[in-house]
């Protein structure tokens, strides 16, 4: 299990990284935290021509408040999210979710940009971004563009990122007084990828649901926005009955796939149970 032969290029700034990406095209891989890329290389499941290491690109780091959004640099490590007072106060969903990402040594290296770009269906952060209606900024040598998280994730390990683009930052709206969150996942062992998980944001005014964004991950091939569940919640008072209706409506939203941990029917059951628990969190908040 030794990685295949590849070349390595250490980018020191974003234009340099993008220029390298232009010249190597699909033969290049962006090396950020490496916590998923390196196992793939060690197994020789991936045989790239070149790795472009962006760890030295300072412009991609940092968490800061910019007006009504939080800007999170793509190189922000999971451990930084976990420790950030800004994230805890302004994106508590993210703070709750990131603790479920693997183990401390993995969180010390793994980055938000890497997690979102890989789009592992069982990963927590993509689902959180969709629930938070985050905007992702993608740069190429031609310029940059911004895309909503829900549009970015398109399928199993498939995103809207083009081969000449690097995800450079994430923009998340700051917490508002009416905003509540819920997060729950089932994993076989602590720190394992979620078998099923739910990330949820809700705007609640006068005890009524103004907007519910419930996102299912793990069981689905990409973070699935539960639109039927959202419709069932719209304008209604948080209650036990609403919880049951959301759980029932969720079934229409799910399209789970089979894997070693469970078949589709099992995953529907898990997703519904988790949805009930997450809505209960929101109700209790």
């Amino acid at each position: 299990m030794k990685a295949p032969n590849f070349a390595y290029l250490r980018a020191t700034d974003l234009p340099g990284a993008l220029a390298a990406l232009d010249s190597y095209g699909t033969g290049a891989r962006i090396l950020a935290g490496g916590q998923s890329l390196m196992p793939a290389l060690n197994f020789r499941l991936d045989v790239p021509e070149v790795l472009i290491d962006i760890n030295g690109v300072a412009a991609l780091t940092g968490i800061e408040i910019q007006g009504d959004v939080i800007r999170i640099g793509a190189l922000t490590r999971h451990a930084e999210l976990e420790a950030s007072a800004v994230i805890a106060a302004e994106a508590p969903l993210l703070a709750a979710a990131v603790r479920h990402v693997a183990h401390p040594a993995i969180r010390n290296r793994g980055t938000i940009g890497g997690s979102l770009s890989l789009a592992d269906p069982a990963a927590e952060l993509p689902a959180c971004m969709v629930a938070l209606e985050a905007e992702l900024v993608l740069a190429s040598s031609a310029g940059s563009r911004t895309i909503g998280a829900a549009a970015f994730f398109r399928g199993l390990f498939e995103t809207d990122r083009r081969p000449n683009e690097i995800l450079v930052e994430v923009r998340v709206k700051r917490q508002t007084p009416n905003r509540r969150h819920g997060f729950a996942e089932l994993s076989r062992r602590h720190g394992d990828f979620a078998v099923v998980g739910i990330a949820c944001q809700a705007d609640v005014a006068d005890a009524k649901v103004a907007a519910l964004r419930l996102v299912v991950f793990g069981s689905e091939s990409f973070p699935r926005v539960a639109s039927h569940a959202a419709a069932a919640a719209q304008g209604r008072v948080l209650s036990r009955a609403l919880r049951d209706d959301i759980v029932a409506a969720l079934l229409e939203d799910l399209d789970p796939s089979d894997n070693l941990q469970g078949g589709a029917a099992t995953k529907r059951q898990w997703a519904q149970i988790l949805a009930g628990r997450v809505v209960a969190q929101i109700t209790a908040a």
């Binding site: 076989r188 602590h190 070693l260």
Partner: protein, 825 residues
């Protein structure tokens, strides 16, 4: 909610052992003390020397080309591109190996009905499992060897594979080895008593189907070997991560045609084994053969993928068990049908039958059962060969019987603990032979049960369980009475004609300064056996523990069997004790000559020669050694100072030593998700006299967690083509810290008769009983739902399927017997 808290795990922090002083040693001796291992700080400081840590001059590295298919014929191999790759020294095929090496084939003289196929270290014509080696690339580095291995082009003819053991035994199944004419590797029927009559007369008959998933040892250090052949001396020096270096010395000599005294195998620090490093593997024999071909050192270290594709797996069983009991809960008969899948070959040289034979014959041995029947069929299939794994078959027999007893107790409305008590063999019945043929000298079943009920506050726990059920919280309590066959003698492998010794030797000597060196024939992969040996030697010689250095794991050193079947201290401990006694006598002979006294009047205490009568100091031990080594002229001419001694031991009066105990598991099931949370686990163990309680308790806990892992997480899953779907540590789930419970331990002491030290083994006790305790606890928790599970591991999906929450069975694994309710009559 419960009205009060029970004593859950309350005594965990108390010392597990009420330290009973060992009668063979004086007060204050290190025997019975929980002393730390002298080697532990070295290992904890990164100073271990595992096989892969070592590098030799001119050493080259191996990467094997392994079969991507589970069953295929090799039409041809093109090595040209690989050979031309920079850094490559040689590319070796099976035919090349055959020029210097004999093939492997299991034959058991006492079980001639066991048929097996010839297995080449590197396959020549046909492969029988995914991962079987078909070529080896030798290169300057492992990286380059792997690069070139990708360039070896094999012309494959894929053959139909069979993976399910029952399908393998059905007519028309693809043949794993066409030369054998059948996939039936072995079958046997064991019957004793009037089984059918007992079932017909029973008040209750229960039946359950068991699907025990295949599991893997997953030692953290994978297999590794460095073979160094010197053609000028025709000598082979092997460093190998192995449990049994003496066996390997014999095997390398036989297969490579070398003189045995010119082969030396050193197993230094070994990073865990659990049975997986007990066998002779084709890739390791091939490594040595390639060293012979090249005349230079060759290293092979299996990576994790290779470990999953080549390390012996174990315990793949499908079973149907029935138990008949009378109205009072007395067990009248058990009847168990077992089918086991052992993979593509019977593993060399022990065979893969151990699991099946032990599972089929150890059933219910702790209980007074009038009639017994078991049927065993063992199938070849296109999977990794199976072999030894901590407990060998006993976790299977234990799980089946304990689960059946729980079902019968439920059917008869008898408390499960009481049901066991009513059926245990009693003190007056020993020595006893079970209906399956297991010989037991003396067991302590009732005292162990009494102790665990007290330890776990059983009545309170049951009360709490029923209160919580009212609140929708589903907890289960499961017991597992277990026996552990330890320290087998020559009867295990001798009749098969296998070169596997059950006897260990000890070579011991005083150094001139009065300290002691001791070589011992067992081996130590971290169990702490060598520390126990040092404690016995120091106590016997009357010297501090720190004055004794013990070495093992070198085939040029004291002969012995190495580490398997929980034999270390029970066998090597006796040898060390006898050798130390002889050495003590030899030393006192010299001292008596110097003092012109009687050796019977002298003793060694704390490095001093003293008078037995009044403890008066006469001479230092160091002075006696000085005289013996340097000043023989001070001794009378008829006294030759012999400050070394050798002794041997193997069980002779008993065929093996049976340890026993009981475990209890307490868990909670989330009936909505199927998740299981382990709450508590208790064990009361009787392994005879305990030399080092710290190490014994760590064996029990580690063994329990291995059994819990099998029950809840572990399973080697193959698809219908024989592709292993769980060949990474992300997919094969081992138990990690967060899900494991704290474990409460207590001991009961029944010394092994007929030995000086009264020791029985302890290494497998935890594993044997833990899985069974979980079976019982899970099905106890599910009782209010009127359902039960029969498929290991008890994954959330298995639980939900049993609960009827989801309609479909698990989709990925083809093996999925239905769970059937028992009959009440």
């Amino acid at each position: 909610m419960p009205s009060r808290a029970c004593l859950r795990g309350g005594s965990r922090r108390e010392p597990a052992i009420a330290s009973a002083r060992h009668p063979a040693f004086p007060a204050g001796s290190p025997v019975g003390e929980g002393v730390a291992r002298p080697s532990a700080l070295r290992l904890a400081s990164g100073r271990g020397r595992y096989t892969d840590d070592q590098t030799l001059p001119r050493m080259v590295h191996l990467a094997f080309v392994r079969s991507p298919m589970a069953h295929a014929r090799i039409r041809g191999i093109d090595i040209a591109a690989a050979l031309a790759f920079p850094g490559v020294v040689r590319v070796v095929t099976g035919a090349d190996i055959a020029t210097v090496c004999k093939p492997m084939q299991v034959t058991l003289a006492h079980l001639p009905q066991h048929v097996s196929a010839e297995q080449w270290p590197i396959a020549i014509a046909e492969i029988a499992f995914q991962g079987e080696p078909v070529a080896a690339v030798v290169a300057r580095s492992r990286r380059e060897a792997e690069d070139a291995a990708e360039l070896v082009a094999v012309d494959w003819e894929e053959l139909p594979a069979v993976v399910d053991p029952i399908a393998a035994l059905a007519a028309g199944s693809p043949m794993v080895h066409s030369s054998l004419g059948s996939n039936l590797a072995f079958s046997a029927r064991f019957e004793n008593g009037e089984v059918d009559r007992a079932f017909a007369a029973a008040a209750a008959v229960v039946e359950h189907r068991f699907d025990f998933g295949r599991v893997a040892c997953v030692a953290l250090e994978s297999r590794a070997i460095i073979a160094d052949y010197d053609p000028t001396e025709r000598s082979l020096l092997v460093r190998q991560s192995h449990q049994s270096p003496h066996l390997m010395q014999t095997m390398f000599a036989r297969h490579l045609g070398l003189a045995e005294h010119r082969v030396r195998v050193i197993a230094g620090d070994v990073g865990g084994a659990f049975g997986s490093k007990l066998h002779v593997y084709g890739d390791e024999i091939a490594t040595a053969a390639i060293a012979v071909l090249l005349g230079r050192p060759v290293k092979f270290t299996a990576d994790r993928l290779e470990a999953f594709q080549s390390d012996a797996q174990a315990r793949e069983f499908l079973a149907t068990g029935r138990l008949a009991a009378d109205r009072d809960g007395r067990i009248l008969a058990i009847d168990v049908d077992l089918v086991s899948g052992i993979g593509g070959y019977s593993i060399y040289p022990r065979s893969s039958l151990g699991d099946g034979l032990q599972a089929a014959t150890f059933l219910g041995a702790a209980y007074d059962i009038a009639a017994f029947r078991s049927q065993l069929r063992v199938a070849y299939q296109n999977k990794v060969p199976s072999g030894a794994l901590r407990g060998v078959g006993q976790p299977i027999s234990c799980s089946i019987v304990e689960q059946l007893i729980d079902l019968a107790a439920g059917a008869l409305d008898i408390d499960p603990a009481e049901m066991r008590r009513r059926n245990y063999l009693r003190q007056g019945q020993f020595p006893a032979t079970s209906k399956g043929g297991l010989k037991m000298t003396e067991l302590s079943l009732v005292p162990c049960l009494d102790r665990i009920l007290e330890l776990m506050d059983y009545r309170c726990l049951r009360q709490q369980q029923s209160e919580l059920r009212e609140a929708g919280i589903h907890r289960g309590i499961g017991f597992a009475t277990f026996l552990e066959q330890t320290a087998p003698g020559a009867g295990l492998y001798g009749p098969g004609g296998l070169p596997i010794t059950s006897q260990d030797s000890c070579i011991i000597r005083f150094e001139p300064s009065g300290t002691v060196r001791c070589e011992i024939g067992c081996s130590d992969q971290g169990q702490g056996t060598l520390t126990g040996i040092a404690q016995i030697v120091a106590a016997t010689l009357g010297i501090p523990l720190d004055d004794v250095a013990v070495s093992a794991g070198d085939s040029a050193g004291a002969q012995g069997g190495g580490a398997w079947a929980s034999r270390g201290l029970a066998i090597s401990g006796e040898a060390a004790h006898a050798a130390a006694r002889q050495l003590r006598r030899n030393l006192l002979t010299v001292a008596a000559a110097v003092l012109q006294g009687n050796l019977e009047d002298l003793d060694i205490r704390d490095r001093l020669i003293v008078d037995v009568a009044d403890g008066r100091e006469r001479l230092s031990l160091a002075r006696v050694c000085e005289i013996a080594y340097y000043c023989q002229d001070l001794l009378p001419p008829e006294v030759t100072p012999e400050l070394s001694a050798t002794s041997h031991f193997t069980p002779r009066t008993d065929p093996y030593f049976i340890a026993n105990g009981i475990q209890a598991c307490h868990l909670e099931i989330d009936a909505e998700t199927g998740w299981i949370k382990l709450l508590d686990h208790w064990i009361v163990d009787d392994c005879g006299h305990v030399i080092n309680p710290l190490l014994v308790d760590d064996q029990l806990r580690g063994g329990i967690v291995q059994g819990l892992g099998a029950a809840l997480f572990e399973r080697c899953v193959y698809d219908e083509q024989g592709q292993q779907l769980t060949a990474t540590m992300a997919d094969y789930l081992v138990p990690m810290a967060a899900e494991m419970p704290d474990i409460t331990i207590a001991h009961v002491l029944t010394p092994q008769p007929g030995t000086a030290l009264g020791i029985k083994g302890v290494g497998e006790a935890g594993t044997i009983g833990a899985t069974a305790a979980v079976w019982c606890a899970v099905n106890d928790a599910l009782r209010p739902f009127g359902v039960r599970v029969g498929r290991q591991p008890f994954s959330p999906e298995v639980i939900l399927t049993a609960l009827g929450v989801i309609p479909t069975p698990p989709v990925v694994d083809p093996v999925n017997p239905n769970d059937e309710e028992g009959d009440m009559q």
